[in-house]
Structures are given as C-alpha cells and as structure tokens.
C-alpha cells in the first residue's frame, strides 16, 4: 500500500523531452515522448483502472484491467505497455471495455476474501477500489471453487506480514524487489493456480534473503503484504512529508499519522515517491525502525546530580537549565572563559547545530565547539576544500545513473547507505563497471547479478599507497585527460604532482608488498577507470578514518582531476556521509576553526558580519577539537561540556581515555533521547526530542537540504532547539526564535551558500542542493561545472606515510571496523527496535587460517587485546576477511570496540584511526564482567515496534 496521499500514475515518467500530443476521451493531452497511455490518461485526469501497474515499476501488462481502445488499431491494448504517439485517439471508457474489465475483476474477486471491513487495507486496497470503479460487487463464479484461503500467513518478519490468501499474484512485490531494491529475494513460484509469491527458496520472510526494505509492502495493491501496525492501530488519517534521521542518504518519507496533539501516533513511515534523494525507496531502518522514538527508555524529565556517583534527581526544565547555566558561569569565572565548550550533533537539525555553535561562540565567548563529524568525515572537509575549494561532495545521487565506471573506496553501501546502493546496483546491472577498494569482501563486491570487475583487497592502512599506484599508472601510461587538466587545474602543482607520482616508488609493482594488491590488478583497474567516459568515485569512512585520511581524500580528488571526472553528471567525488546531517552539521559552523559556511574564524570581515548580527564580539582563534577537549580536561583547563545528541563515550576511540577525561570535568550536560554511555559521566541530563517531534532541516551527502516536519508533540515538552534557546538565555545571551524557520532565515543571511534558502522555497521545491543563491536560485545539483570553487583545481603531493599503528609479534593482526544494515552507529536507536532480530550482537570476523592457528571455531568467545585495551567478542570464521585482518562492528556498547581502538588520528583533522588497530586474539571462555553487566543493561527488546 503506497502512501495514503499518493496519486499513482501507473508507470514511471519518461526521461524524454520531445512532446507528443494525443487525444484521450476527446481531450487533447500533451506529454513527453515515451510516456504510456496509462500515465498520460492519469495526467489528463481520466485514470484507467489498473492492478499490476504502479508508477515506480516498469509496466508489466499482466492484470488486463487497463485495456483501452485506440482508433485505427485492432483489439484492446493494455494502456500500461502501450506508449503514446502523435495524433493517437484513445478511449478509456466504453461498454466493451467495461465488460472486459468486469470479467477480469470477477475472476480476481472469486479468489479473494470479501471481508473488506475487517481488512487492514480497507479503504486503501487497490483491488477493493478497482472493483468499485469497474462496478463489481459480486462474482458470477461464486465462492465455492478452489481458492487460496488455506495458505498459511507468514508473520515471521517483525515489521510486516505476508498473507497469500490476499495475494492476486500481480508480481508487483517481486518486481519491486528486483527493480527498486535490487535484492531479487522474491519470486513467483509454481505455475497456473499454484503460482505464489515466495521468498528465496520458499523460506519464511525473516529467514530469506529479504532485507526488509519494505519495497514489496509498499508495492502490494492488496493486504497480502501489510505493515503490522495496520493490523492493530488501524488506518492512518494524514501524511506528513519529512526526512529520515538515519544515514546520510536523507530519504524523504511520508509519516502517516493517526490522531492529533499528544494522542498522535505514527502508524507507518512510507517512502516519498517524489523524494529527490531516495525516489520512493527506503531501507529497513528508515522504513520500519522508528519505534525507538516511543521506546520506554526515553528519558522525559530533566535530571541533575552533584556528582556522577550520585543518583539522578528529576527536576523541572527551569531548574535543570538554570543549574547548567550557573555551573558553566561558575567554571568560566573560576577557570577562564576557555574552560567550557559544546558538541553539536549530526543527528540534530541544521537549525539546532547552528544554535549550539552560536551558543558556544556568543554565550560562552569562545570557539570550543566541535561535532561528531570530527570522528567520521572531517578529512573530507579538509581534503576537498584544499583541492577543489568546497568541503562537500560534487554530485546528486542520481548522477550515478550516468556513470560508466564506479570506484567504491572504503565504503559498504549495501549496509551503510542501502538506498543509494540500490540505485548503484541498478546502474551496474545496466552495464556500468565497478572497482571496489576494500580490505573485506563486501556485498557490493559480489551479489546477485553484480560482480566487481576489480576488487583491490588492500591491507588496512595502505589506502594512499594504492591510490598513488592507480595514479602512477594513469600518468605513466598517458591516460591523463590533458585538456581538462590544462583548462581547469593549476599547472605548476600538476607538474609537481606528475613528477612525484611518476616516481617508481609509487608504481603498483613497488607498492604491492605493502598493500597486498597484485600490481596487475592495480594496473587493470587504473586503465578501466581512466578509459571510462564517466568515472565516479564513492567513498566512506574506510577512507577518512585513517592517520592519512585527509591525504587520501586529496588523492581521490587528484585522481578525479587527472582523469577529467569532475564538473558534469555521472562523475565526481562523492563522500557517503554516515549520519543524516553530517554535511549539515559541518556546514553550520560546528568546527572550532570555522564559522557557518566554512569560513575561518580569523577572517575579520566574516567575523564582523556575525558580530553585527549577534551583537557580541567573537574570538579570532580556533577552539578545541573533541580529542583536544579530552586532553585539556585531563590537564585541568577544560571543565564544562554541553553535548547535544552525541554519545562520545561509545563513539570516540580509546574509551578508557574518554572516561578519564569526562570524569575530570566539573559539569557535563548531556542532551539526548536516552541515558547513553556519556550520560554515566554527566551531571545534568536534558531530554532530547526525536526527528518526529520537531521542525527543521537536514542536509544529506549530496548537499540536499530537506525539511524535517513535526509529526508528534515533543514527548518531554521541548524540541532540542528550544532547549538551546533556553540555555543561552539562562547564560545571559538573548536568543528569541518562535520557529526554526527564523533560525534558517538567520543562517541564510549569514551564509553565502545558503542565501536563497528558506522554508517557503523548500516547501515549493521539495528540497534544495546548496549552493543556493543569486547565481543558483534553484540550487546546485552538480558542482564545479565550469570552474572549481577555488578557481583552478589544485593537485597535492600524497606521499604514503605508513601508520605508526603497526602489527608485530605481540599484536600480529590488524583490526578494522564497519557496520551492518540493520544497526545504526552506536545503536542507540536501532538496538531499541526489532532490528535486533537480525543483529543482536557485534561479531568478530576472523579468517579460517587465523582462527585455526588459535583454535577458534565459529561462535567461540575470543579475547581481543590492543595497545589501548581489551574486550571479548563472539567469533565468526569467514573468508570475507583476508588472513592477518580481523573485523568487527561497533553497534553495541558491551562490545567495547572502542575500548581497543587507539589515539592515533588523521594528521590534519584528528579524525581517529578507527580502521587500523593492531591486536592479538585468543580463545576465552566468556565475556569480561563489565561486558556482561552492560549486556544485561541493554538486553534487546525485540517485541517493541
């Protein structure tokens, strides 16, 4: 069942532009060439009855309900599979057509339950609606014949049911799994009357290859596939368009709601088919895993305590905020104004992050503000700003549909960015070539109908050496796009780079012993990338979270410039951002050295703009980054911290070090949905609000600004932005906003790339990709078209410097980390949903050879020791990892993945080197005591929807 406010046109829009004029039911209609008659009729307001057609799937022509008459043609063609032509005259209604449709509908109805009133899809069932449209209320065939009503219902998936009794075998679910999701988990099994929808090899949905994206459920025209809440909550009453709060794809959703005010409840989250980032698709997290927003673990009352060893005491908002302000003021009076700071969150809105950094700069009077992007994509900002001139990706997601060669580096899109992965797989199935650079065999390397042309399975920590080797081949084999480089890039820097990269030490043969990637594979991959018409690079945290993260980002930009792959659709440098608003948090001035719009705090002219608007003098010196805050806390110069929506204790490296730093502070204020790990060391807890409870905007990985709309009242009474406003006022710095739209107006007034952004325009356009200003009033899908933001592109020398985190006889294995589809980051949200059905613990992947030498078998507990600490995880023995490399995820606090990661970080930005930790592994009998205590505390609640 698609969104309740969706007007379905039956077949997808044509990408052609040439107009075609025809006549439908006597009315002239002009549509694009390649449009189906069904869609043209729908656009003209004379919809044709249909069942197997829906406008996000290719036409299929199986239900025979959409037959029409075309003047001069024999028979009754299906309007979904017949395209318009100039001068065509179509009749959608006639006595004969009515008779044919009724005959078809009677057959459907004869094998379908008629208890519509008690059906979860009642009122939105397409079979029910079409029966009414064609005038069928009973069937000549009666109900005595053989029917499918004895077939068992499959309720195995925690989010939806499959009732074959309701199924009309229209294949929409199967086609959705194929065309929209690209998993191909569903099929029509059997023939004739025995035909039925089956998951994988006729397994239950939950045991099958199904990834629970919900595309099949959304496509189903009946109640065969339905979301479980429809069964016990009933039909939603209204739909509110908003943006998902999970990954950086930033999918647009219709939140379908029942009730109003405090009684409002979200029944379903349905992907918005007009959504610009996701184009009607979703993943299991955004589609189904929103139950955390109403989970019993939510803290709804502000709390304070004098010492972290004291129990929490519930207080009023006024008392909590007044206490926080008094503590921050006391610390500043006693220890100076630089002794406090704040951390913004990539999970909060642009408006909220803008306010937190404003509070730090204007109310605290310093630049000690940082954001969780510090630990993920800060090297992207540094690397792309220096090479191309802007700290952002260059393309829109749908640019990939024009790519001929795609290089995926250090990213696992099917797990981390699944909706983009579906689009990528669609393009790969159309014939685009794929190069994967990753230490592991990820799903994109090999999956149904997908196989990477080259998998450069490098050793963790050798990214830059591999990138240099690729560039070496391109330069030495004459594959540089010289015209592009000459016209668009700084010549002296390019020449210097050429000299560097041509040096034999950068050749694939010379680097092979370090990277582990066969030289011949590197050479072939380089040739493939350079020879493709459009080559696009997509990368993730496997690039940034290294000691040379910024160098690698520069290397990627170098490669894109050298091969002429920037400034048009189908190409580009595309960071896949981890969280929903990483891009936005960075744009909003969350870094300690930059004001909103990536302008350095030392720029007096920029500071003057902000000082004039904010009516307060601003600091010209950079403040502390998150890891620097920890160091300063330990030396006693940083004692107060305001953390909005970020669990630094679980997400930052070297947990013992973070614990020591937090313990040394005098006032830690945590604002969050849940009492997270950091809150254990907090003195004041301020309840946060979920994305469903506030207005605002998120900016996704393609610079797309999308509206977040309030669906429910804030459960704790205040939205996050309101809490920051109150805290600023309590600190004595006046903030007065009635609505986040006013905050966006201030952002637009102060930020050149946001000048043209407003809530009115966002409502009108749906979303906007910045820069949006006088030069680009509708936004900028593709950047750097005629010239780079910095003018000429700048090549940088990217000398490979091995990390100091080396394996040796004590720590012989290299641990690297990643994510799984069903869990999200530190798991605060997804651990509180039935997603734990699929992934209830972090597993430790080890190669069969390494496992054998240690006597480790599948499922054994293994102790992992690094230079920073030790933890215990359950082993998965797999050749997805190469010998010498081990891997785990970090979604569960009891796993302690960051207990073992080290303080090593990127040279330019201090982004932690999560991806390389030398470890030793031994078989043990059980987890550590601290892990057991945490495990009991976070016992997953699989029953909460």
């Amino acid at each position: 069942m698609y969104a309740i406010d969706h007007h379905d046109l039956g077949t997808p829009a044509s990408s052609a532009v040439a107009p075609v004029t025809l006549e439908i039911d006597g009315r002239p209609v002009t549509v694009a060439e390649g449009t189906s008659i069904m869609r043209a009729a729908g656009l003209a307001g004379c919809s044709v009855p249909k069942l197997c057609a829906t406008d996000n799937l290719k036409s299929f022509g199986s239900c025979r309900l959409c037959l029409v008459e075309i003047e001069g043609r024999r028979g009754y063609p299906a309007s979904c599979t017949t395209l318009v032509s100039e001068g065509m005259k179509v009749k959608t209604q006639s006595e004969k057509l009515g008779s044919l449709r009724r005959g078809v509908m009677e057959l459907y109805v004869s094998d379908h339950p008629l208890d519509c009133v008690s059906c979860p899809s009642n009122g939105h069932c397409e079979l029910q609606n079409m029966a009414e449209v064609v005038g069928v209320s009973e069937t000549r065939y009666g109900l005595a014949g053989e029917r499918h009503e004895h077939l068992a219902k499959d309720a195995s998936n925690p989010y939806f049911t499959f009732d074959p009794n309701m199924c009309i075998v229209c294949s929409r679910c199967v086609r959705a799994c194929d065309e929209v999701q690209g998993t191909l988990a569903l099929t029509i099994q059997g023939r004739g009357f025995e035909s039925k929808v089956a998951a994988s090899q006729d397994e239950s949905f939950v045991e099958s290859e199904c990834v629970s994206c919900g595309a099949c459920v959304e496509a189903c025209p009946t109640a065969a596939l339905t979301e479980k809440p429809l069964h016990f909550m009933g039909q939603p009453e209204r739909a509110v368009t908003t943006t998902c709060a999970y990954c950086g794809v930033g999918c647009s959703f219709k939140a379908e709601v029942k009730g109003r005010g405090d009684a409002a409840q979200v029944v379903r989250m349905v992907p918005n088919r007009d959504g610009h980032a996701n184009q009607g698709h979703a993943c299991i997290k955004g589609r189904f895993a929103f139950g955390y927003a109403t989970h019993a673990d939510r803290i709804l009352k502000p709390m304070v305590r004098a010492r972290i060893s004291d129990p929490w005491r519930e207080v009023s908002w006024d008392e909590a905020i007044g206490h926080a302000a008094a503590q921050f003021k006391r610390i500043q009076q006693q220890h100076g104004k630089y002794a406090v700071g704040g951390i913004t969150s990539s999970r909060c809105t642009n408006e909220e992050t803008f306010l937190v950094q404003k509070l730090v700069r204007a109310a605290f009077g310093n630049n000690n503000v940082d954001t969780c992007a510090r630990v993920c994509h800060s090297p992207t900002g540094y690397g792309l700003k220096h090479t191309l001139g802007e700290s952002a990706g260059t393309q829109a997601f749908n640019s990939v549909m024009k790519s001929d060669v795609v290089m995926v580096i250090g990213a696992n899109p099917t797990e981390g960015h699944p909706v983009f992965a579906s689009q990528l797989k669609r393009r790969l199935r159309q014939g685009a070539k794929l190069i994967v650079v990753d230490p592991r065999v990820t799903a994109i390397v090999r999956s149904p109908h997908i196989e990477a042309d080259y998998h450069l399975q490098l050793r963790p920590g050798t990214n830059v050496a591999v990138m240099n080797a690729l560039a070496h081949v391109i330069v030495t084999e004459g594959l540089v796009k010289s015209e592009f480089v000459a016209a668009r890039c700084e010549p002296a820097a390019f020449e210097k780079w050429c000299t560097f990269i041509k040096d034999p030490r950068n050749s694939p043969e010379a680097t092979e012993s370090m990277t582990g990637v066969p030289a011949d594979t590197v050479r072939r991959a380089a040739r493939l990338f350079a020879s493709g018409r459009n080559g696009a690079i997509y990368y993730g945290l496997g690039v940034t979270e290294h000691s040379q993260g910024s160098t690698m980002v520069m290397g990627i930009a170098n490669l894109a410039m050298a091969t002429g792959n920037l400034g048009r659709e189908g190409v580009g440098v595309n960071p896949l951002r981890g969280q929903n608003n990483v891009q936005g948090a960075c744009d909003m001035g969350s870094f300690p050295h930059e004001l909103p719009g990536y302008r350095h705090v030392s720029d007096a002219a920029v500071r003057t703009q902000f000082e004039t608007r904010w009516q307060v003098p601003l600091e010209a010196e950079p403040g502390l980054r998150i890891p620097n805050m920890f160091e300063a806390a330990l030396d006693g110069s940083f004692l107060g911290l305001y953390v909005q929506g970020e669990d630094i204790l679980q997400s930052d490296p070297n947990t013992h070090h973070v614990v020591a730093a937090l313990s040394a502070m005098e006032c830690v204020v945590v604002q969050d949905l849940f009492l997270n790990e950091t809150a254990k060391y907090a003195h004041i807890f301020l309840p946060g609000s979920s994305f469903l409870e506030k207005d605002g905007t998120f900016t996704n990985a393609e610079r797309r600004i999308s509206r977040v709309r309030k669906v429910l009242n804030p459960k704790a009474g205040l939205a996050d932005w309101e809490v920051t406003v109150r805290l600023a006022n309590a600190l004595g710095y006046p903030m007065a906003y009635d609505h986040p739209s006013q905050i966006m107006d201030e952002i637009a007034a102060l930020t050149p790339t946001f000048t043209g952004v407003s809530y009115d325009k966002l409502d009108r356009l749906g979303s906007i990709q910045w820069p949006c200003n006088e030069a680009a009033p509708q936004g900028t899908p593709t950047m750097h078209i005629d010239e780079f933001v910095r003018g000429k592109g700048r090549f940088y020398i990217t000398e490979y410097v091995p990390t100091s985190e080396r394996s040796n006889s004590r720590f012989p294995l290299i641990l690297t980390t990643g994510r799984v589809l069903t869990q999200y980051n530190v798991g605060a949200q997804t651990r509180r949903t039935p997603n734990v059905t699929w992934h209830s613990e972090d597993r430790f992947e080890i190669h069969p050879d390494d496992a054998e030498t240690r006597g480790v078998k599948e499922g054994d507990w293994v102790g992992i020791t690094s230079r920073a600490g030790q933890t215990v995880l359950r082993a998965t023995v797999t050749d997805r990892v190469q010998p010498g490399v081990v891997y785990t995820t970090f979604h569960f606090p009891e796993s302690g993945a960051n207990v073992i990661t080290t303080d090593n970080s990127d040279w330019a930005t201090n982004c932690p080197e999560y991806k390389v930790t030398a470890v030793q592994v031994v078989k043990v009998s059980q987890p550590a005591d601290w892990q057991e205590r945490l495990r009991r505390r976070y016992e997953p609640d699989a029953n909460h929807v």
């Binding site: 000690n368 560097f500 950079p622 020398i797 000398e799």
Partner: protein, 73 residues
Amino acid sequence: MNPAQLTKMVNDIAAFFASESGEEQAVTDVSGHLQRFWDPRMRREIVAHYARGGEGLNELSKKAVAALAKASQ
C-alpha cells in the same frame, strides 16, 4: 595538554608538508597549520615543549614550532 601527544601530532603534520612543500615552505606550512587549526593553549604547550628541548620533535617540526613561537611573540 600531553606534550608527547602534541609532539606526535606536529610530526604527523610535518610528514605531510615535508613532501608537499619545499623545505623552506614546509616550515611555513606546518606553523601555518598549527596557527589555523590548533587552540592557543595547544600552541603554547608545544612552544613550551620546544623551549624545553623539544624531545621527540623532528627537525622540520622543531623549525615550524620555532617559527610559531616567533610569530606569537
């Protein structure tokens, strides 16, 4: 601030600029990086560490911190 940690950070920065810039320019670039991205208390600490002999700082880092110290006078 932990001088050993700051020393490692400066040496890492120097490793990049040692190859990117010429020898003379690298000194300017490393000290410029510290100026643009480091909180003043970190800069003061590394300058103080340098004044105490700069244990662990490599040659380029020492020159860069010396330049930083000179600029901040």
